[in-house]
């Protein structure tokens, strides 16, 4: 019986390892490729390990810019600025709204909550063009405002996720606090938020990830060279005359670094957070 189990486990591990190798392939190819010369990435004979290595791809990529003499440094600052404000805005607004849905009994709450769930099915691409027209009318194009300001009004996904988490916090805690004379905002600030750190981390990490990688928004709204984000800058590296993929892979690796680091910092909470929201959809 035990032997059967061992055999089965071996098979399971083997399949899982193959799956891991498959999903990691582009990522591994990118990182190893970033140390390669062009012929090692595509050609008659390619090699998996960079031999000989071309570490100069990294400094070249950091400085490289087909025409602008503006390095990736500026792009990083721009992306960071947008992503950080987005995280702040989402955390502040979504947690407030989620608290309202989770704890305050007001008339029409269930109906509004249904509306919230329905808007999760409305992708932003539907409103992209009219929103552009709108932001153009008020003169916000070519600034970070169209990318940041909407984040201060919550997103359905984040509100939903936080609300599900808030619901797991025993009501007795806020009732006790309110008996002690704590206001509603006080309960939100002193009880709910501190107890929800994992959920806030998940929300924050996801918001950061989305905004860091977003291409369409910056593509539409950011005109000037100095305001480019990392994703936009990367896409501009692809020119017909740029024929060193190693350099581009190095730039891509650098661009993904913050995302991956953040993911590993938050990963303990991420799966928990997803589990929580996933299991309450039905």
């Amino acid at each position: 019986m035990i032997r059967v189990n061992v055999a089965r486990q071996t098979v399971v591990y083997a399949v899982l390892l193959i799956l891991c190798a498959m999903v990691l392939l582009p990522l591994v190819w990118m990182v190893t490729g970033s140390f390669k010369t062009p012929a090692q990435i595509s050609g008659e004979t390619i090699s998996f390990w960079p031999r000989p290595a071309a570490p100069e791809n990294y400094p070249d990529a950091w400085r490289y810019e087909p025409s602008l003499r503006l390095g990736m440094g500026q792009y990083f600052l721009n992306s960071l600025l947008i992503a950080i404000f987005a995280v702040l805005g989402q955390l502040a607004s979504s947690s407030l709204v989620a608290y309202g849905f989770a704890r305050v009994r007001f008339h029409g709450r269930e109906a509004w909550f249904l509306v919230l769930l329905a808007t999760m099915m409305l992708p932003s691409e539907v409103t992209m063009i009219p929103l552009f027209i709108l932001f153009r009318e008020i003169g916000w194009t070519n600034s970070f405002l169209p990318l940041i300001v909407p984040q201060f009004f919550g997103s359905a996904f984040n509100i939903f996720l936080l609300r599900q988490f808030f619901m797991t916090i025993p009501r007795e805690m806020d009732e006790a606090a309110m008996l002690d004379g704590c206001s509603r905002l006080g309960v939100y600030w002193r009880i709910i938020l501190p107890l929800s750190t994992p959920a806030l981390i998940v929300t924050g990490v996801f918001t950061f990830l989305w905004n860091w990688q977003d291409l369409l928004g910056p593509l539409i709204y950011l005109d000037s060279v100095e305001s480019r984000t990392v994703a936009l800058g990367l896409s501009y590296l692809l020119t017909p005359t740029q024929n060193n993929p190693g350099l581009i892979f190095a730039a891509a690796t650098v661009a993904l670094l913050p995302v991956v680091v953040l993911f590993f910092i938050g990963q303990r909470y991420i799966t928990k957070g997803i589990n929580l929201s996933a299991s309450s959809y039905w």
Binding site: Q9, L19, M22, V23, P26, S42, G43, P66, S67, F85, G89, S93, V97, Y99, G100, V104, F106, H107, E110, A111, W112, L116, M121, L122, E125, M128, I129, P130, L131, I133, L134, R136, T141, N142, S143, F144, L145, I148, F153, G154, W212, Q213, L215, L216, I220, D223, A231, Y236, T239, P240, F249, A252, L256, V260, F263, F264, T271, I274, N275, Y281
Partner: protein, 761 residues
């Protein structure tokens, strides 16, 4: 409480801080700073910069801030800027390809007052360049340099084949060209290892003129396409035969992937004997060690003919420094500046006097004889300049992606070009009638209103079922808490949807006033828009390929991770999940090279004994290639399935085990029904996700080849920002909304048959 107030203040002050930040970027320079946008390679940028610096030394009170972009992004960015609310650059580098589009929309200032005041004499310029910058009899930009493509040939390959060099004075005729190219083409084991010719981006219109035909009724702002003539068909046949039948030239779409160099730089590969190239090709070719090359005029048929592309500098109609900009533009077109850049590889000087001087003829790269360019200029006419970029793109698509890949014969290509071209050049005006202008929009809105009211009514009925009796204070507090979201919902969701509904009834470029056209856009989309149909088809095909991969793959991962007493599940889960979050530009870039004809994917296939296709250049394989990328994005579905699996009570498995059910039966009769709500969730989210795909095709294929990967949002973006058809794009957005809504409802309805809700009955 203080902390709350502090946070609130911080939040409120953000927009102000951001506004300030952008103001601060201005410099302390007291004079005028002009922004100058242009495209170019590094050598071209350097050349243009010398002009700017020279101008600054002559005008110390003016500074030029250069904003160069790569050609591939330049026009899109310029148009977005012109359509946006920010300030466009003061001086904009123009090409005659887009001349009519920019002039007709009034995006560039009329230069005739300055030209008259400063008595600029246009007689010294090549006539084709003057034609290119004139709109309704008035100059709209100043020509700075002009481009024609000539033959550049590798002398060593000619020597090796024993073929005499091309004559720099006398052009070959078509048959001679075909013969020479055939002699210089080498095949080994059925594979071409050396091409005699690389047609590159040679314009089909030049061939039509050589055959004695006409491409359009007039060159600037044409109204009709005329290639469906004996001469036109003859030209298209000769052009495509070189590629498809004689196989003496690679198709432009494939040549780089097959290792025959980039178009305009094909000689660098050492495997091409003759290429088309312009002055901008010379610095690159000259840098290539051991490459000896010569120049020759392009072949002729009945006539000698060439197409010239004029580059010029225009002044934005919204510039606040028109006078200073004029000084700069005038300087760029002057003999002094022309001499400065004459030999720097940007183009041929537009002034005959400079072009014929040593400044141009004595090439610093030792290329001789540069006179070839001048002879060609004398028989050149300016290129076709249409009011819409879509014309140029559609013609390119038919020629490069259909005719030259052998999928249609020349007669069909000529027919399609004339039909599509004429439709794009003189679009039928959309005049709303009683039916299309009043009755149908009203019916449309009434239907939408009815559906919304029904939803509201239903939600209200559900809400009434609640037994809550909130107090007044409670009520107010609740709405205060959800206020941010309510405001956001109104401003960023409801408002835009209503705006899209309204604007969808107009023809509107945002640059001009909107016209009411009733349901005209919808009629056009549903009845005749090929791109719309194609994009819907691509998106649905993608959905039907990617969703099963994600569902089955995600479920497999989840089931394996859920095996009892498995260790390292935490690490494995993380590893499997991470790639799902990385679907942006960076990873797409990697895929572009993985799918190259001799990239990683084909090497892996090669080890398995399969010879892989040229994925991204093949109409058949490009979309499957993008679908296959989903094998790395199993993590999203996996994690949802994991959560669902953990919710299945083990007592159910035990009972099934006792009943003697095997592994598969337990999965089929216990696991699958129990997790069916998760399947439904992943299905719906996957469908919506398919309608959001943008970055991947944008980076990996750009929507091609021949629209094989034109996803819905890509088409939407193109319509809105490349063709500035905002009203039309709004109608497309409304249709997107309706399609997503309908598909989701269908999936939900259908799910009642197979989704099992525990405790529901």
């Amino acid at each position: 409480m203080k902390r709350v107030a502090f946070i609130a203040l911080l939040v409120a002050s953000l927009p102000a801080v951001l506004l300030l930040r952008q103001r601060e970027t201005g410099e302390e320079f007291a004079g005028v700073t002009l922004r100058f946008s242009f495209w170019g390679s590094d050598t071209e940028i350097a050349a243009i910069e010398t002009v700017c610096r020279r101008f600054e030394s002559l005008h110390p009170d003016v500074r030029i801030r250069i904003e160069p972009l790569p050609w591939t992004q330049y026009w899109l960015k310029m148009k977005t800027q012109a359509a946006g609310s920010g300030e466009p650059p003061d001086v904009i580098r123009m090409t005659s390809i887009h001349g009519a589009e920019w002039y007709s929309r009034g995006l560039l200032a009329d230069l005739s007052p300055f030209v008259e005041r400063d008595k600029v004499d246009f007689s010294g310029y090549f006539p084709a360049t003057v034609d290119a910058v004139t709109w309704e009899g008035k100059p709209r930009s100043m020509p700075t340099d002009v481009a024609v493509r000539v033959y550049m040939f590798n002398k060593d390959l000619f020597d090796r084949a024993g073929v005499p060099y091309l004559d720099p004075k006398k052009p070959m005729d078509w048959e001679q060209l075909r013969e020479v190219a055939r002699k210089l083409t080498i095949t080994k084991n059925g594979q071409t290892v050396q091409y005699g010719l690389s047609l590159g981006y040679m314009e089909f219109d030049a061939f039509v003129y050589q055959a004695g035909g006409l491409a359009v009724d007039r060159l600037v702002d044409p109204t009709r396409m005329l290639v469906n003539s004996p001469e036109g068909i003859r030209a298209l046949r000769f052009y495509s035969d070189l590629i498809v039948r004689d196989r003496v030239s690679p198709a432009v779409m494939q040549q780089e992937n097959l290792g025959f160099g980039a178009p305009d730089f094909a000689l660098e590969s050492g495997k091409v004997a003759i290429q088309h190239g312009g002055t901008w090709s010379i610095p690159g070719l000259a840098k290539e060690k051991g490459l000896r090359f010569g120049l020759a005029p392009i072949a002729m048929d009945k006539d000698r003919a060439q197409v010239a592309f004029t580059n010029s500098c225009g002044i934005s109609a919204r510039s606040r420094h028109v006078a200073e900009s004029w000084e700069f533009v005038k300087f760029f077109a002057s003999p002094e500046a022309q001499r400065l850049v004459a030999s720097r590889g940007i183009g041929i000087p537009v002034l005959r006097e400079v072009a014929r001087s040593d400044a141009f003829l004595k090439s610093p790269y030792g290329v001789d004889p540069m006179e070839v360019f001048l002879d060609e200029m004398e028989c050149a006419r300016t290129n076709v300049s249409a009011r819409t970029e879509e014309f140029e793109n559609q013609m390119q698509k038919i020629v490069s992606e259909q005719l030259c890949l052998g999928s249609i014969p020349p007669e069909e290509a000529a027919r399609r070009m004339e039909k599509d071209g004429s439709r794009l050049l003189s679009p039928e005006p959309m005049k709303p009638t009683m039916v299309t202008g009043v009755i149908m929009p009203a019916g449309f809105l009434a239907l939408a209103g009815f559906l919304v009211l029904r939803l509201v009514f239903r939600a209200g009925r559900k809400a009434r079922g609640q037994t809550m009796r909130p107090s007044r204070g409670e009520n107010r507090a609740g709405y205060l808490f959800i206020l941010p979201w309510l405001v956001g919902l109104t401003v960023f969701a409801l408002g835009p949807v209503l705006l899209a509904l309204g604007a969808g009834f107009t023809e509107w470029s945002v640059l001009q006033e909107p016209h009411y056209v009733g349901v005209g856009n919808y009629v056009r989309i549903l009845a005749q828009d090929h791109d719309f149909r194609q994009s819907l088809r691509v998106t649905l095909l993608y959905a039907s390929g990617s969703i099963p991969i994600q569902l089955v793959g995600g479920l497999l991962c989840a089931l394996l991770l859920n095996v009892r007493s498995l260790r390292f599940t935490g690490v494995l889960r993380t590893v499997l999940y991470l790639p799902y979050l990385l679907t942006g530009v960076a990873i797409s870039i990697v895929w572009r090279w993985m799918y190259a004809s001799n990239g990683l994917v084909n090497h892996l296939l090669g080890w398995a004994g399969i010879s892989g296709p040229d994925w991204l250049m093949s109409e058949t394989w490009a979309l499957p290639g993008i679908v296959l990328m989903n094998f790395t994005w199993l993590g999203g579905n996996m994690i949802i399935f994991l959560a669902a699996l953990q919710g299945v009570p083990s007592s159910l498995y035990d009972a099934a085990h006792v009943d003697g059910a095997g592994l598969f039966r337990r999965f089929w009769h216990v696991t699958l029904p129990m997790i069916s709500p998760a399947v439904l969730f992943n299905l719906i989210m996957g469908t919506i996700g398919s309608f959001q795909v943008f970055a991947v095709p944008w980076i990996v294929t750009g929507g091609g080849p021949n629209d094989a990967t034109l996803f819905y949002v890509l088409n939407l973006y193109r319509r809105a920002f490349q063709y500035n058809d905002m009203g039309y794009a709004c109608a497309l957005a409304v249709i997107l909304f309706v399609v997503i809504f309908a598909v989701s409802v269908l999936e939900l309805r259908g799910s009642r048959r197979w989704v099992h809700y525990e405790g529901a009955r």
